[in-house]
Every structure is written in C-alpha cells, then in structure tokens.
C-alpha cells in the first residue's frame, strides 16, 4: 500500500463534506477521477472507508477511525516539508562556528550581524578558541566549520586557504624601534619578547622566526591578546602579531610597525570535516564572512 499526501487529503476532504462532487472540486479533480481515487484507497486498505449510496455519503466505523490518523499524517507531512524548506531558505536553522580569537573579535561578529539582519530565524553560535580547540570542535561536529590557522593533524580535515596576513611588531612607544615605518627581522635581534601561549597560532608562526633572529625570549606565556598588549605597554617586551589582531593594539600606549618579511604570513583557513557539506545557512554565513575577510579591515588609527 502506498499512502500519499494527495490521497490522504482527498480522503479527509470527502470525510468532511461527505459529498463526492464538492470534495472533488476542492481537490481540483473531476468527480469521476475523485471517485476512482477513493475506490483505490479503499481497495488498497482493504476496508470500505465510506458508506454511500447515490444520495448519501458517510464514514464507516473504520473510516472514522482512520480519519484522525489521516489528519495527523497530513499535518506531519506538511510540517516536515515546511520545516525542510524553512531550513533550505534560511528561515530556520542553526550555524555554529569556531574561530580564532582574532577573528571572533571582529570579522565574525560583523558577518553575524549582516547574516542575522538577512536571516533572523537562524540561530548563530560562535566558539572563540585557539587553533587546536577550533579543530577539536570541528572533529566533534560541534561546529559547522572553523576559521583558524593550521594546527596538528590538519590532514584529517578538508581545508581551504581564505587569506594570509602579514605580521606587525608591537612595542612600547618608548622602544628604540617605535618610530620606524618598517622593521626587518634582523633589527629585532636583542629585543626581549613576550609571547602568546605555545598552542596559539600566532606563537607557532612567530617561533621559527624569532629563533632565527636570536631574540631574547621572556618566559611569560599568555592566552589573551589583551594581556599581551598590557605587558608590552608596560615595557615588558615586544611581540610580533598578525594583522587581524591589531585592533587589540590600537592604543595610545603602544606602537605598531609593519614587519618587512614578505615570506612570513599567517594563513587563515576554512576547516571542515572531510566529506562534509555545509548547510545552506552555513554556506551563506561563510560567504558573508569571506567578504569581510577579503576587504582589508578598517584600520583604527593607532595614536602614537
């Protein structure tokens, strides 16, 4: 037996108006076709659903029983399809994103705002984590995708490079290099550095660099960019940070100088589970995010 929405609708319609001709009209069928449809339903079910002569139509006891079921089935079907379409058209849904703190602070919120304006029915979630944690969230299927830097076991994911960004030196305005328009790696020799934690993507890119430059390294290791800014502002060292983190260092008591090292750039990746396909909502959010990533971030003026 092959119940369909059409047949159930016809059945309920007839049960309600108890009149083949009228029910047929409501179903946009000829009266004859409608009659045959009901006959097929009864034959398939093996039960007469209606008791009828040419003058009267009424539900049989079994038909009455089935009516409740049919109504519920129709409602469930319509609900399911409506829900599906709502998700496809971004009227409903949920998108969860993992992003590096630097992205979570600015690019992602702006993308969220634009997305939410267009699709207020979709729930958005963000996890601001360091790169390892971002990858773990993808692995656990807790997020649709991650915006992060390369991390361990990257091969088990499906990745795409979204952007790579240059580094900047951040130091106190009193630092010898503070007035320079650009600095090179060599010029950093002898500087005392403060670093982000080892598992931060910034650190992982800066490490090989400073190793070659023979810089002094402090033993301080931190997780928050704001902490780093506070340390540097107080003359406890300098640091190299990628472009997207600069919003944290746009302070009167900090100097920011472009690093002249074209080969050193931090890659920002889109990371998904292998074989996974983004939902319509996630794809749209990603597209918006990429727009904001592509255009250079509006630089807040760093007052020196």
């Amino acid at each position: 037996m092959n119940l369909s929405h059409r047949v159930l609708k016809a059945f309920v319609e007839l049960a309600e108006c108890r009149h083949f001709t009228r029910a047929a009209e409501r179903c946009h069928l000829s009266q004859s076709a409608f009659s045959q449809l009901i006959q097929r339903l009864e034959q398939d079910a093996g039960v007469p659903m209606f008791v009828r002569n040419t003058r009267n139509v009424s539900l049989s006891a079994e038909g009455a029983l089935f009516l409740e079921r049919a109504r519920r089935l129709i409602a469930d079907m319509e609900m399911s399809v409506a829900d599906l379409r709502d998700h496809a058209t971004l009227r409903k849904g949920r998108v969860a994103v993992a992003a590096l703190p630097s992205l979570a602070a600015d690019v992602v919120p702006r993308a969220f705002a634009r997305f939410h304006g267009k699709h207020p029915g979709v729930t958005l979630e963000i996890f601001d984590r360091l790169s390892d944690a971002c990858l773990e969230l993808v692995r656990q299927e807790r997020v649709d995708f991650a915006l992060t830097a390369p991390g361990p076991r990257l091969a088990e994911f499906q990745c795409r490079l979204l952007r790579s960004e240059p580094f900047f030196l951040v130091c106190s305005p009193a630092h010898p290099l503070a007035r320079r328009r650009r600095v090179t790696l060599r010029e950093l020799a002898g500087c005392e550095f403060v670093h982000m934690a080892r598992n931060s993507s910034v650190r992982q890119h800066v490490d090989p660099l400073t190793a070659g430059a023979g810089v002094l390294e402090s033993s301080i290791e931190i997780e928050q960019l704001a902490t780093l800014a506070g340390l540097i502002a107080n003359g406890l060292g300098v640091s190299l940070v990628p472009e997207l983190t600069l919003f944290q260092f746009a302070r009167r008591d900090l100097a920011v100088i472009p690093l002249d090292a074209p080969t050193l750039r931090r890659p920002l990746l889109l990371v998904q589970r292998k074989g996974a396909v983004l939902s319509a909502a996630a794809a749209e959010l990603l597209a918006i995010t990429e727009e904001f990533l592509a255009r250079p971030m509006p630089r807040r003026k760093a007052v020196s």
Copy 2:
C-alpha cells in the same frame, strides 16, 4: 508537493546505504528509475537531499534533518494502515452493546463467548438496561447497537425486528391456575398481579393486556426479574413474562404456563442510530447474536 510512502522509503533507503544501485535494488527498482525518483523528490522539496558525485553519496545537512522526519512519517503511516486493517479484520477493536436484562443474561453472554473465542483482540462491552435506557445509550453513541424492545421516540432510530416472543404466566405452584397446560387472557380475570416497573418493556406489553382482562393490580413495581420471581413465589401475585425471561422463573417454587394469546408477543428489535453503519466487529457480533436468538433457547426444565 506530494509525499508518498514509496518515496519516503526510497529516501530513507538511500540515506542508509548511500549507494544508488544498492538502494534501488532494495526498493525493487532499476537504478535509473530510482535516480529519477530521488531527483523528483529533491525537485519537489526544492532542496538537494544528497551530495553526490559518481563515486560518493552522502546526505546534505538538510537531508539529514529530513531523515528523522521521514523515518517517523513512514512509521506513522505503516502504523495507521496496520491499525486500520487490524480493526477491519477483527484483530482489534471495541464493540459495545446495550441489551434488555433478559437478553443480557443469556443470549448476549453466549454470543460474547463465541465472538471472543474467534476474535480475542476485540474488547466487548455490555450495558444491561431497561428499554428506555438502551435507547438512550444508542442516542448517545455509547453503544454500537441495542437489543431491546420498542420504546419512546423509536422513530428517530433505525430498527429491525429480530424476533417476537410469546408470554407466559408465572404463578405460585399453589395458585389455582398452576396445574393448567395453557391459560387464556380471560382466565386471568380476578388474579392479583405484580408488575415490572412501568418503563420495562415487559410491563408495557402486559399493561394493555391486563387492562382488558380486568385483573387486579398490585401497586408494587420492580426493576429486577429476580425480585418479581421472589414476590410470586411467596404468593404475592402472578405475572406475565416473555419467553426469554423464563430462566429467572425456572424454580421449584414457581409454575410457568404458556399464555394462549397468539397476537400478544413481545418484539425484540435491533436498534441503531439512523444512518449509522456497524463496524466490522459489531456486524460480526450481531450476526452471532442473531444465531443464538434464532434457535430456541435451550429450555431448562421448570421443576413444578
């Protein structure tokens, strides 16, 4: 959009084996037909359910969402149809009957026993009431049908005569008429009567009769046949009762004599709501009941 059981099944099958060829086999379709079926589903829904290339098939985010719904819909459909068929084939159901006490005491229980033996899944209910109450139960749709005698406002029902039964005189063995093999109405003149309540069907038939016969009437009015039997056995009067009640009077201390009044018979009716049609189970129960009504009740010997 017109969801059907077939399509939902195909969808779930493909979602589970993620392989068109295998899923098609399980649905007893050619691979091509199956592919087209899925394409139609996606087109109707307006959402790609699967992400596929020639090598891999997997659910899209929206497809995964729909999968749960589809499984539930399929289960509900199958459940509904199975339930319907169970009712039609008497594997499930409920039949409620209202019957006069005289029928409820013997004919109906025997019919119930036979029916229950054949269809143990069907719940049976009986209401043993006087005729007015029987009709009221039909009116309230609390019973599928009633087996009763004519009552007030009978015209609003759909009735069929099942049987009409002769009356018998019940009296004490010490009564002057107790040894007779038959009695006529005339011979009852001067007898003191005890009656069932005015709303009992027995009374309603006996009343016009005794009115013509000029019998003495007691003011006692009762509802239970057993009470009547007790009164008569103790010499407090005689009474006329229809055949099916005789099981109550088959006692050593009572005499039962056929009444010679061929025109006086109590009709037993099948009563339903107008336009109503019996369920399969009710129809079967009625058929069995009619069998037992048709064959003369096994007479228990009345010991005089």
